[in-house]
Point group: C2
């Protein structure tokens, strides 16, 4: 790759030390005295030597690379999640392969195989729709630690970091009930993700708790995106007895629902209560500011990376399942009188 | 990393062929007949052997890894750009390190150093604010091909892929002039990026061409984000003689401007004309749908990756500077009567 690769021998010669001393400096060994270290580092800088970590990794049979595969980088939630992971990974002296599966299980398999060939020390995966536990078996069998985030993959022998989708959804619906709503919808998402199932269960249980009969017509499926939210409103508007408020699968859907409502002349937060899920950066500045269940995507990314690094350092066979707490952040889109930003804290 | 690593010798033994034959199959050599190849591949699958590409890269002194560093992954434009790069990189059998510099030159230096230590074959960089040509010199001197995207880095001996910011901005302002606006603002961005300078120049030249005196008060700086757009509107509202329309630095700012206008009771596209720049996915479904200068972020990411792969294959010393064409996409936010989506095509 390099036109004229400087070698350890060149550095040793220029610095007037042995080749072993140079190697010790490169490995950050405490056995070299400060003055020698400085001299060697100064020669390294002058000669433009780059430590070949690929070779070092092979010699040491351990890699400083982690793999991260997310299902949709164009959804702000996953971009913020990736940014959180990036912070922790880089600070720990690792570098990450980061790929986008675009919800394709085939593509996910290809990128994981490619990352594995390139020697990852561990993998963080937000699985594409339709991923099965068996898909991760070869990786797990090889002893590479895997942390599954966001979407649960039941049956997989991996560590998981999920948000408390059930409690969050329940709190959101309780809030809408407390504002007097009885026709409450659930908008966005498809049946085949664990996230959808858990949030829907929270929605159903909160309705039951309030003595409100569930109306299946008010559960409107759509893509889990802004465009999906617009489409969901269109279908909701066809109903004779519409909802007056809705919990949306995520913030992207909620923004789309706000857009769709405006298209038909309904002001979100006034004519219709909207609650999202995630609390992406944009939720705070949107108009109306979005009431949402905060998952803290960057914080979740950081925790996922910490969990993976812990497993890598521990040798990789301990599985941990963590559920991060969430909280309802009441802003303007649900039509509630705004008191403060962090109104309801949940465990 | 792996608990029981299968070796080439194991495969040769199980398949009843020589070790060299297994190696040839792993390298995809045409010297092995089809039947033998199938037998070897079947044993490889059975034994769960993973080709150690890191070792292969070292032996061949070439890597199948590219580095991608973007300044802000939480801005949809850059996320979509990265997704475009990802598509091309993966299809070509490469895998990418992808990092987010968060506009920090220090962090950018660290991640590039880390990627280099891990043996990248080339780098695509959307530079952090304040990056200087000299920052890339060590990388360039080592013969690693570099493609700089989005933000020009004058003086750097690298290939570049930029969008035609000047022409795009000019077309947008011409359009606002054609709608009868004479008080036209430029909202968002800071002075220290090339993108800002080029778009501002297009804005100024279009005003001059129309015989409209530039009013510096209508150029409102802010962070190049949605929150920045909201802040820019607040400052615009303090002016005695406000703008009636604005070209925004990018779509993120434009969405924030729409949010900010609604906060003060002005409906974007009716009481105030808003034009963005980029055409992120959300621009189409937003309400009002955003009139914007389309850069096609995914397409731009694809072209950047193609350019880098071309340089890697060619040996890396040819520099190319490409400017991608842009087009004004007229939707609802500028208040124009909507005729069709791709109204004005530009070379």
């Amino acid at each position: 790759m390099s036109r004229s690769r400087t070698t350890v021998v060149d550095i040793a010669h220029a610095a007037g030390v042995s080749k072993s001393t140079v190697s010790l400096v490169l490995q950050g060994s405490p056995l070299v005295n400060e003055k020698t270290r400085e001299k060697v580092n100064s020669v390294i800088a002058d000669l433009g030597y780059v430590y070949n970590r690929g070779a070092a990794n092979l010699r040491q049979a351990r890699s400083k690379i982690v793999g991260i595969v997310v299902n949709d980088l164009t959804n702000s939630f996953f971009a913020e999640l990736a940014v959180g992971m990036d912070m922790v990974v880089q600070s720990a002296g690792y570098v990450q392969f980061l790929a986008h599966s675009g919800e394709s299980v085939d593509r996910q398999r290809e990128v994981i195989a490619s990352m594995r060939e390139n020697g990852i020390a561990g993998l963080i995966l937000s699985p594409a729709r339709g991923t099965e536990a068996a898909d991760l078996k070869p990786l797990i069998d090889s002893g590479i630690p895997v942390v599954v985030v966001v979407r649960n993959l039941s049956g997989a022998k991996v560590s998981t970091l999920l948000s408390d989708n059930y409690t969050g959804a329940k709190a959101a619906v309780r809030h809408l009930v407390s504002l007097g709503h009885t026709r409450i919808g659930f908008m966005g998402g498809f049946l085949d993700t664990a996230v959808f199932a858990e949030r829907l269960r929270g929605y159903r249980d909160a309705l039951q708790e309030a003595g409100i009969a569930a109306d299946e017509a008010l559960i409107v499926h759509s893509a889990p995106s802004r465009a999906g939210g617009v489409a969901a409103v269109e279908r909701m508007m066809l109903l004779a007895d519409r909802a007056t408020a809705a919990l949306c699968l995520n913030d992207a859907v909620a923004f789309g629902v706000c857009d769709g409502l405006r298209t038909v002349g309904i002001e979100p937060g006034k004519g219709f209560g909207v609650i999202g899920f995630d609390d992406v950066i944009e939720a705070k500045t949107a108009v109306p500011a979005l009431t949402t269940v905060s998952v803290d995507p960057q914080g979740m990314g950081q925790r996922a990376a910490q969990l993976l690094l812990k497993q890598i350092n521990a040798g990789g066979n301990e599985q941990e399942s963590l559920v991060t707490s969430v909280r309802l952040v009441v802003r303007q889109s649900c039509g509630a009188p705004v008191r403060n930003n962090h109104l309801e804290e949940m465990a």
